[in-house]
Structure formats: C-alpha cells, structure tokens
C-alpha cells in the first residue's frame, strides 16, 4: 500500500519513469559517435587499463553485448571485463604505448594511448628517525616532469611533494616527518609520473580521452 502511495506521489510530482531509465548500450550507438575514456596506470610490469564510454547524447554508455573492448600493447592483448560501470583489465606489459580497441564485428574504433616515460625507483629499506630520506629515480624525464611523491605510514603523517624539476632525486628533510605514534612502522613511498600534455589519438570513434601514469612504490621501515 505504501509503495502504491509512493508511486502516486512521484507521479503527482511529475517524476516520470523515463528519468530512471538505464544508460544506452554501445551497440545502440554508431561507433563514430562513441568516445572512449581510458585510464592507464603502469607499474613497469603490468598496466591497469580502465575504460568507460560516452556518446554525444549520453555521458555514460554501457558496453553492449555485440561489442568488445580489447587492450593491446605489443604482443600482449586482453579483453576488458566489467568493473561496475567501467571495463578494465590488467595487461602484462611494460610498454608505454597501447591501444584500446572497440570491436563491433569487423568494424573497429581505436584509441592510441601514450604513457609518461617509465622509470626505476631506488631508496633505503630503513630510515632512522631524524635522518633525511633520499629517493632516486631514472631515467629523468626529458620534458623535465618529476614524479609526484607521497609517503604514507601509520607512525608519521602523510607527506606529499611535487618537485618542480626532475633532477632524478629528492631528499626529504628529517623534519618533514611529523610523528603520529612512537615506535617503528612500515612506510610506503609512491612515485607517480603523469603528463596531462599526452593526448590520445583515435580512429573510427568520435573521440578519445586518456590519463596515463607510471607508478612505482618503495617500502621502507621507519625506526625510532
């Protein structure tokens, strides 16, 4: 009874059932009206590829049953599977360029994505408190964009640094670490290189947008 009353109330407010209709599926939209939104996060060994679709009329389009999304990098290739409203796959590759292909029978729409330069990360495994922490990476980015750095742990407050220049290293001052709890703890440093100027190219689609990052992590022990 309450449900009926609720529906009557909704109707009286002018809330039509069409407002809650699900997004269209991609196979209802011509390929050349679809935009692929691609996010790629590489750790140098594997790339996590996440994709969602939109059309000129809808900000979200679900992948239809007649369509496939495939990620390709060199010899590596894998079909993307459902992650909620997105599609994703972990692709074993260290490549810095990859394609995301929307397949519909013999037709193809392709987004070509370029990642920032790969790098290696090095640092200590132990850090006595009140000692500076120097982390090094390489090769440096010819464009001069240093990776953003973030340290998280249970015993010191998070520290975030975005160096304006890429010199291949960064030294945290001992006073950068604000004590939260006494005692030792494990800390993780994440270095992420992104480059918003890297725009994807595309074929057979309305467009493509991408965000690519190279992410490396370093784990070390902070000692009292």
């Amino acid at each position: 009874m309450k449900r009926v009353l609720f529906l009557v109330l909704l109707a009286s407010l002018g809330c039509g059932s069409s407002e809650s209709s699900p997004p269209p599926t991609s196979d209802q939209v011509p390929l050349d009206q679809i935009t692929l939104h691609v996010s790629v996060r590489s750790n140098g060994e594997a790339a996590l590829v996440m994709v969602n679709l939109s059309s000129q009329q809808n900000s979200l389009v679900y992948l239809g049953e007649g369509d496939r999304l495939v990620a390709r990098a060199g010899a590596a290739s894998a079909e993307l599977v459902s992650f909620g409203y997105q599609r994703g796959v972990l692709l074993s590759t260290n490549a810095t360029t990859l394609d995301v292909v929307l397949e519909r029978g013999a037709a193809r729409g392709v987004a070509h994505v370029t990642l920032p330069p790969a790098f290696g990360l090095d640092g200590p495994t132990e850090l006595p408190r009140r000692s500076p922490l120097t982390v090094r990476w390489g090769p440096i980015d010819p464009a001069g964009k240093a990776p953003g750095l973030r340290i998280e742990s249970d015993c010191v407050s998070a520290v975030v640094r975005v160096p304006s220049i890429d010199s291949g290293s960064y030294t945290f001052d001992p006073a950068d670490f604000i004590l939260r709890t006494p005692g030792s703890c494990i800390a993780m440093l994440t270095a992420a290189r992104t480059d918003a100027s890297l725009k994807p190219t595309f074929e057979g689609l309305a467009g493509a947008k991408s965000s690519g990052s190279q992410v490396r992590t370093l784990t070390f022990r902070i000692d009292p």
Partner: protein
C-alpha cells in the same frame, strides 16, 4: 519607572551568565543588545574568558590580552592588574576593542599570565613564549632549482612549540610547511619552490621560521608566535 529600565536593572545584578540571559530574555530584553556593564567589579572572574596574542618578530614583541565577560570586552577596575611575566599590560583601545597591551623589544621563557583582582579571585596560568628562531642567511644569491639549507637558533630541549616555515616572494608560489620537530635547521629541497605567475623570474624571497604555541588553559585561549625572517635574492 526606573531610569535604567528592567534590562539595565537585571544587568546590574551579579548573576551566573545562563541565569542572567534567561532573566533578560524573560524580561523582553534583546539578547543581541550589547550589555554594557559599568562596574567590572560586578563581573565574576569565573565569567571572564581571556584571549591572548603574543606576536614576536625582529621588530619587537606585542602582547595583547582581551578579557571578555557576559557583556563583551571589558577593562577591569583601576586597582586590578594584568601582567605577563615582568610586563605590566596597559588598558588600551585597539580597533575599537578593549584590550590590555604592551610592546617590548623581546620576550621569551616560561612566563605567568596573572590577572589580579581586588573584588574577586585572580587568574594565573603559565605561558610558554618560545625563544626567537634567529636565522642565519644563506650566503649569496639563492638558486631555487637547488636545495636551500636554512639554520636558526635551536630551542631548548624542553620546548613544546610547533614550528612552521614560510617562504614568500613575487616570483614564487607561497610555501608553508609545518615541521615535525625543531632542530634549528631545515633544507628546502631542490624543486620545492614553484614558479609564481611569471615563470623563471628572479626576485627577493622572504624565508621565515615561526615558533607557535597554542594556548588553551582554564579560560585562557590564544596563540604565542615568535617568528624571524630573512630576505635573500633568488634566481630560477
């Protein structure tokens, strides 16, 4: 009819604050009205809160103490006394507010904020005024793409203040950092100073170290700040 009306009459009576407000409200007195209490001796010390601001810089130290009673800011009677350590604070008006104030060349140490009252009990709370972080200037022109090592006078081991670093300049984005501890040294890493609106410009930059103590004792609230600055020329 009383010359002062029912509201003034109620205000003149020494009542606990909540009771006073309830009585004022029930008498039709607007709570938004300022309550001018003519006789500070009628205000109980328990109804007074104190706001303290100690601001030390290379030009001197300014101490401002505001006393607030049920009727707003107040000065005590002339026989009462407000002191911070050796300083006797004078009742003055600043920006239209009643404060007790003093300016001295320097002030530091563990001091007592003492309010002495003839008509009621006084107040005494300890206030830590950290030593000034007198800085040593980097030699020559600072190159912002390189690390900048700063040093200043270290504090005593017993100090409990928080330390902040501030960097300002027309050619850089402002930089503010809270330090995990105060050892009298900090190195600004290469690449920490970002360009301001104009990329790659040279300009003087002001490097400041500030020692801060937040005060929250009894009914005394405030901030004690000791800062020192140096200005150096900088290039990208």
């Amino acid at each position: 009819m009383s010359a002062h009306g029912p509201c003034e009459g109620l205000r003149a009576v020494r009542l606990p604050p909540l009771f006073l407000l309830l009585n004022l409200a029930s008498a039709g007195c607007a709570l938004s009205e300022r309550l001018p209490i003519e006789d500070p001796d009628q205000v109980s010390t328990r109804d007074i809160s104190i706001t303290l601001a100690v601001t030390g810089s290379s030009t001197g130290t300014v101490v401002d103490v505001s006393l607030t009673g049920p009727g707003g800011g107040l000065w005590l009677s002339s026989t009462d006394d407000v002191r911070l350590g050796p300083l006797a604070l004078a009742a003055v008006s600043k920006d239209g507010k009643r404060v007790y104030s003093a300016s001295v060349p320097s002030l530091e140490g563990m001091l007592s904020l003492v309010v002495t009252r003839r008509a009621d009990e006084g107040i005494e709370v300890p206030i830590e005024v950290p030593p000034p972080p007198t800085m040593s200037a980097p030699t020559g022109v600072v190159v912002r793409s390189a690390a900048i090592a700063l040093t200043w006078a270290p504090p005593p081991a017993t100090a409990t203040h928080e330390t902040q670093l501030h960097v300002r300049g027309t050619c850089i984005a402002p930089l503010d950092r809270t330090l995990g501890f105060d050892a009298g040294a900090y190195t600004i890493a290469a690449g920490d100073l970002l360009d301001g609106a104009t990329k790659g410009a040279s300009c003087p930059i002001t490097l400041s170290v500030e020692r801060r103590v937040n005060v929250q004792l009894m009914r005394v609230y405030g901030l004690v700040s000791q800062s020192r600055s140096i200005v150096v020329e900088s290039t990208p």
